[in-house]
Amino acid sequence: MKISRYIFVGILLGVTLYKAEAVSWFRIFEMFHFQSFHMYGIIFSAVIAGMGIVYLIKRTHMKSTEGQEIVFHPKDRSVPRYLIGGIIFGLGWSLAGVCPGPMFILMGSGYTVFIVFLAAAMFGTFTYGLLRSRLPH
């Protein structure tokens, strides 16, 4: 089935972040104390490789398997939305030591308490949906 290929992409993501210790609360703690290059190395090398990939896709007008040219949608220009939202996300990321990817990965590796974390994260997203029109964007 066509959709099953995305499960393999997810498995690759899960094994990578687990084996690189990016799912570790202590690694996130270390990163925010600037005490190791490890997490920065992961992010920087991913972004540099990613920039090369995006450049090549644009340069060659690469088509996706859906038959359409791969396009990049520019995000809306704004500062408060990204800054305030980013700070709130950063507070949660460093507090719990997980961002949404590792949330699923740790749940799968046996830390079932992350079901509660997922429910709280869904409630956070739901609350944003309710307050959206009243928040600065």
């Binding site: 498995i11 690759l12 094994v15 991913a46 949404p100 956070g124």
Partner: protein, 196 residues
């Protein structure tokens, strides 16, 4: 009998992966999703799950064609399998976070008693028992809420902004990542000394 070369591959994968393997691998994952005509962004699943649970009745933000986003839920499901596989088959000799000596010292100041080389991959408060302590509740429920709220407010998380957005030279993503770090620094340097 399992062939020797398969055991060697298993041992090879079971080592801790250096950053220069993980980073390009994440970029490869982003490329595969772009090649399939999709975008790498894990936190979008939270919105999809809310919509699938009927949140559209309460806010238009959840009225969208979430059925077409099922592929992203499959990525999340795959990530769960990946976590299971890595922790059960590729764990290697120990389940340790190889943090620096400076980090071990910083942890001691907060009351963690780990010695160098003994810092576990995940902390003890990732448990149901600790969920019934104030600190565990703040970390799991409070952390989850902030991650879910902040990711949607900022329009993306680490995968959507830090990886996909920065790779595509999107200025909004850089602002979001600066925000991630401001939040992270406030938490680890100002709030952790109170919490731990």
């Amino acid at each position: 009998m399992v062939p020797d070369f398969l055991i060697q591959i298993k041992d090879f994968i079971s080592q801790p992966w250096p950053w220069w393997v993980a980073g390009p691998m994440i970029a490869l994952i982003m490329f595969i999703l772009l090649f399939f005509g999709k975008e790498f962004g894990i936190s979008a699943n939270l919105r999809i799950m809310c919509a699938a649970d009927g949140a559209g009745e309460f806010s238009d933000f959840f009225k969208f064609d979430w059925q077409s986003q099922g592929w992203n839920l499959m990525v999340a499901l795959g990530a769960m399998f990946g976590g299971y596989i890595a922790s059960h088959y590729f764990l290697g000799s120990s389940d340790v976070a190889h943090v620096s000596a400076a980090t071990v010292e910083s942890l001691k100041k907060l009351g963690f008693t780990y010695e160098q080389g003994e810092v576990p991959l995940v902390p003890e408060f990732y448990s149901w028992d600790s969920l019934f302590t104030l600190r565990g509740l703040i970390i799991i429920v409070g952390g989850g809420f902030l991650v879910g709220f902040g990711a949607r407010y900022a329009g993306g998380c680490t995968s959507g902004h830090a990886i996909s957005g920065l790779s595509a030279l999107q200025l909004p993503s850089l602002i979001a990542v600066v925000g991630f770090f401001i939040g992270g620094l406030i938490m680890t340097h100002l709030i952790f000394p109170i919490l731990f």
